[in-house]
């Protein structure tokens, strides 16, 4: 079995041989990746079911289709993404060629999480391949069946010299991080992100961090409670709440809460039936450890459970649960929930709610439900988060045109679509000067003078080119 350093050396040699540079190579790899997903859809769905009891529908939508969509986007646009970008010049540089070239960084590392083990590993991979890098892929060992599948499939479809899967737990990952990479892409928690950043600092390696946070969901003003409840339930309990962009908690007035709770209850029944544990459309908690953590939060809450609360340790099942009368210092407000528990805090005014969210770390997503555009606008302008979505949840991250990433504690850098290509590229400024006009250059040579200086001011001003 190859050691980590042997893998890295092999990939670096491949990168230095410049095999990943031509567009044709990248297209072939992306097309092969597409075949990998298409040919093995059933195995992928089964692995996800084994890991998270993920319903087939969710697996297809959030792990297969979204990846295929990104692949289509990359294949359709790769040629234009790879083109040099010509830029505007000032008078002194009018006769020169100035452009920005997108170049691969080298050997990059992608560390995936366990909640969407295909999507959150393969979508960054698409960006990395499109940008012409060699990639070390580290799937999460927590989602073990998917880890096995990825390890088996990647070498079958992608160039073994350029893309390698490295497996293991915390120890192996720490060892891996000691190596030098040209970019590290990490999706996961803040605690591990700090470790990743410290390791990257040693080699001055740039990093993209896709983290999480408590994504608030504000419901104010005139609102269609039924429609809101549908979308809220769907986005909260998708993957049993184990989504980095799931609405974590709700803030609304007492009246809204009173209208919302029965709506939530009804929608839950419409979606999953009266015995949710029997529904094939509800996921499970990924491991017993995570189940215990969530039950701990539920047991410590001082709020009132009004919907759900049922649980089954053996099945790693927690029913979609709604808790009201939750205070700001409640156990459910301590950390990112990452589970099927929805606390509702009643705060009468929108202003007070906004104020509360400002006392917390910047989340990955920020949600507001309202039929009043002034409410939406107010929240948008008085908050900060990775992304923002009004009147729905999660779906903003499915659009390849939008950069997907965090800010503050929820991370930095972003990807999806063109942004993924950029995340794994170096934007190299290129300027090709001619030999002529050396007399013009004399303006800048010593001995310096006032007259020379004033000519230079004029010719190098960005405005002077608009005269031409």
């Amino acid at each position: 079995m190859e050691s980590q350093s042997q893998v890295l050396e092999r990939l670096r040699t491949a990168f230095e041989s410049r095999v990943t540079i031509p567009e044709k190579f990248r297209r072939t790899q992306l097309t092969n990746l597409m075949s990998m997903i298409k040919d093995n859809e059933e195995q992928i769905v089964n692995a996800l079911h084994k890991d998270l009891t993920k319903p087939k529908f969710e697996a297809i939508l959030s792990e297969v289709e979204i990846v295929m969509n990104e692949l289509h986007c990359a294949l359709s646009n790769l040629t234009s993404w790879m083109q040099p970008e010509y830029v505007s010049k000032n008078l002194a540089t009018k006769l020169d060629e100035c452009f920005v070239r997108r170049e691969p960084l080298g050997v990059v590392l992608i560390i995936g999480p366990w909640n969407y083990p295909m999507q959150l590993l393969i979508v960054p991979l698409i960006g990395a391949i499109a940008a012409g890098n060699c990639v070390v892929i580290k799937p999460s060992e927590v989602s073990a069946a998917t880890d096995n599948l990825i390890t088996e499939l990647i070498p079958k479809y992608l160039s073994k010299d350029c893309y390698a899967v490295v497996r293991g737990g915390a120890k192996e990952t720490q060892a891996l991080l000691k190596n030098r990479f040209d970019h590290i892409f990490y999706t996961g928690s803040q605690a591990v992100a700090r470790v990743v950043l410290q390791a990257a600092a040693v080699h001055l390696t740039p990093v993209t961090l896709e983290l999480g946070g408590k994504c608030p969901c504000l419901i104010y003003g005139r609102v269609n409670a039924t429609a809101a409840a549908h979308r809220l339930v769907w986005s909260k309990f998708f993957n049993a709440g184990q989504s980095c962009v799931a609405p974590d908690y709700v803030l609304c007035s007492k009246a809204t809460c009173d209208a919302l709770v029965p709506a939530l209850r009804q929608v839950l029944e419409d979606f999953y039936g009266s015995d949710i544990q029997k529904s094939p459309d509800m996921s499970r908690i990924v491991t017993p450890k995570h189940w215990t953590r969530l039950m701990g939060l539920l047991n410590r809450t001082k709020g009132k459970v009004v919907v759900g609360g049922e649980h089954d340790e053996k099945d790693r099942y927690i029913a979609p649960t709604v808790v009201v009368d939750v205070a700001e210092d409640d156990a459910l407000m301590e950390e990112e929930i990452f589970g099927p528990i929805l606390p509702i805090l009643t705060i009468e005014s929108l202003e007070e709610s906004i104020k509360l969210t400002k006392t917390k770390e910047k989340p990955l997503a920020f949600y507001v439900f309202s039929d009043e555009s002034s409410v939406v606008k107010k929240v948008l302008e008085n908050s900060s988060s990775g992304g923002f979505c009004s009147n729905d949840g999660i779906v903003h991250m499915a659009l390849p045109g939008l950069p997907f990433g965090g800010v503050g504690n929820s991370g930095f850098g972003h990807y999806h679509g063109h942004w993924g290509f950029e995340a794994f590229s170096h934007q190299r400024a290129v300027m090709l000067r001619g030999w002529a006009l050396e007399k013009l250059n004399a303006l800048r040579y010593p001995p310096y003078s006032d007259e020379k200086l004033s000519w230079l001011r004029w010719t190098t001003s960005p405005k002077s080119c608009s005269i031409m």
Partner: protein, 489 residues
């Protein structure tokens, strides 16, 4: 509470009032910064003269001209840069608003360097202000006169709370780095860059690192060697070689080596006279420590031009070295001084190999008449930037990103890049609570039929342009067939 903690706290409180949000307030601060640079020209020039013995013209040319240009550009373009940026939609979001909203990050820390104390501290500040942030400005203590002037005079023009200047040495900088920022912008050495990144890791703070490296300069035998040497001489000895993008060393074939040496010697005389020591437009090394460091680098190489020095003045003459190899002392670190080693290579192949054996530099220079050769160097090397047939000037094109890669840094700035670098690009999807019927295909209970529809609708991207073109084409065909039927039968 330490002075540093207080400054950061005040900046944060001030930022949280929201006063930097309106574009008018940012433009107001930018105009004040412009006034500072123009009204205080003399104070700035005097400080730089004391720090680096740079002439007044030199300071204006290399420090303030650039800053003025950046400020004016930011003022002119701010509305465009800060506006929401629309993006491509999917079939299902056709009726929604989808855009990227540039937003301020919060409190930014700008750590300046000593070689161009005004340019590399104020240019990032322009980006920070334009993007709506507060910024703590930490000028380098090595250029102590410039730092003092900045500390004393900048608060008279800019909002004292939003943009405090915090001076100090290593312990003060370390204390600053213990505070929490929303972005750290550092210009300086790779060694300290690692420490900055490590400190930033604690708070998960993103960083921009503008570092350095040994920027190679390849002179092809097929080029106008006279003009090439003029441009290289200028690029090298500006600021006594203390420029992050100075051509660090020259690579050329043995056949042109003596010509190159001769031309550079002539240019040095032309630009800096026979006695550069007494010439106003030739500077000094920043301090004794760097003077000693640079002098020691000459060991083992042969001086062909210059070589003389005066420690009392920190003066080192414009110097050219030969008999230099990859193992020579002068090739072990970034020179950052007025020593120009010439290394002979058999041709562009060896030059590319030589360059690729080393860390990625901030810039690669190549002088050649042959476009093919230049394109080869571009394709087969990596660097922050590449400039053909001149030195330094890519820095002045504000539409080009200025930054490094690998050990020469991460992130970039200038012009719009500075604004983008210090903004958060927030993805926004504005939906309505209507059209709930369409959404139902994604809700449980899941059926194969719903899945089929969802696969088609929910994620497919549409090319609106293509759709429009297809509709236009259909219309055209319709009209054409109508015309044919009606009039041409």
């Amino acid at each position: 509470m330490s002075r540093q903690q207080l400054a950061v706290q005040r900046a944060r409180k001030s930022f949280q009032t929201g006063k930097t949000k309106p574009l008018e307030s940012r433009i107001h601060q930018l105009r004040n910064l412009l006034r500072f640079v123009t009204e205080r020209r003399k104070d700035i020039a005097e400080a730089v003269k004391k720090d680096l013995s740079k002439s007044e013209h030199g300071t204006e040319l290399f420090e303030t001209l650039g800053v003025e240009g950046e400020i004016k550009l930011a003022i002119e373009k701010l509305a465009e840069w800060a506006a929401p940026r629309p993006v491509e939609k999917s079939l299902l979001t056709v009726s929604d608003e989808v855009f990227v909203h540039p937003e301020p990050l919060g409190v930014v820390l700008i750590i300046g360097a000593w070689n161009y104390p005004w340019a590399v501290t104020l240019q990032p500040l322009v980006g920070a202000i334009a993007a709506g942030n507060a910024a703590v400005i930490k000028p380098s203590e090595v250029c102590c006169h410039s730092a003092k002037v900045m500390e004393e005079l900048l608060p008279r023009y800019l909002d004292k709370d939003l943009y405090p200047v915090v001076t100090g040495g290593v312990p003060e900088t370390q204390e600053l780095l213990r505070q929490r920022f929303d972005h750290i912008f550092y210009t300086g050495s790779s060694t300290v860059g690692k420490l900055v990144m490590e400190a930033a890791a604690r708070n998960l703070t993103p960083v921009t690192l503008e570092l350095g490296g040994k920027s190679p300069c390849y002179i092809d035998k097929n080029c106008d060697i006279t003009v090439a040497c003029r441009r290289i001489t200028w690029g090298k000895f500006v600021n006594c070689g203390q420029t992050c993008i100075a051509p660090d060393y020259v690579l050329c074939e043995p056949s042109i080596q003596s010509r190159v040496q001769e031309e550079i010697k002539n240019c040095i005389k032309e630009f800096y006279t026979d006695d550069p020591k007494t010439f106003e437009d030739y500077g000094r090394i920043i301090n004794k420590r760097h003077f000693k460091r640079i002098m020691a680098l000459m060991e083992g190489s042969t001086v062909v031009v210059g070589g003389d020095s005066d420690e009392s003045q920190c003066y080192i003459a414009p110097t050219v070295l030969k008999n230099v190899t990859g193992e020579s002392k002068v090739m072990k670190e970034e020179i950052f001084g007025p020593l120009l080693p010439i290394i002979t290579v058999s041709g562009v192949d060896e030059a590319i190999q030589f360059i690729n054996e080393r860390e990625k530099p901030l810039v690669i220079y190549v002088f050649s008449n042959e476009n093919k050769l230049i394109k080869r160097v571009i394709a087969e090397t990596s660097s922050g930037a590449l400039l053909a047939n001149d030195c330094l000037v890519h820095f002045t094109v504000s539409s080009l990103p200025f930054g490094g890669v690998g050990h020469s840094g991460m992130g970039c700035y200038h012009g719009r890049y500075g604004f983008d670098q210090l903004s958060h690009m927030r993805s926004c999807l504005i939906k309505q609570l209507k059209m709930e019927g369409v959404n139902s295909m994604r809700y449980p209970p899941h059926t194969a039929k719903k899945l089929g529809w969802a696969r088609f609708f929910l994620l497919k991207q549409i090319n609106l342009g293509r759709l429009r073109r297809m509709m236009l084409l259909a219309m055209f065909v319709g009209v054409a067939s109508f015309v044919v039927q009606r009039f041409l039968r």
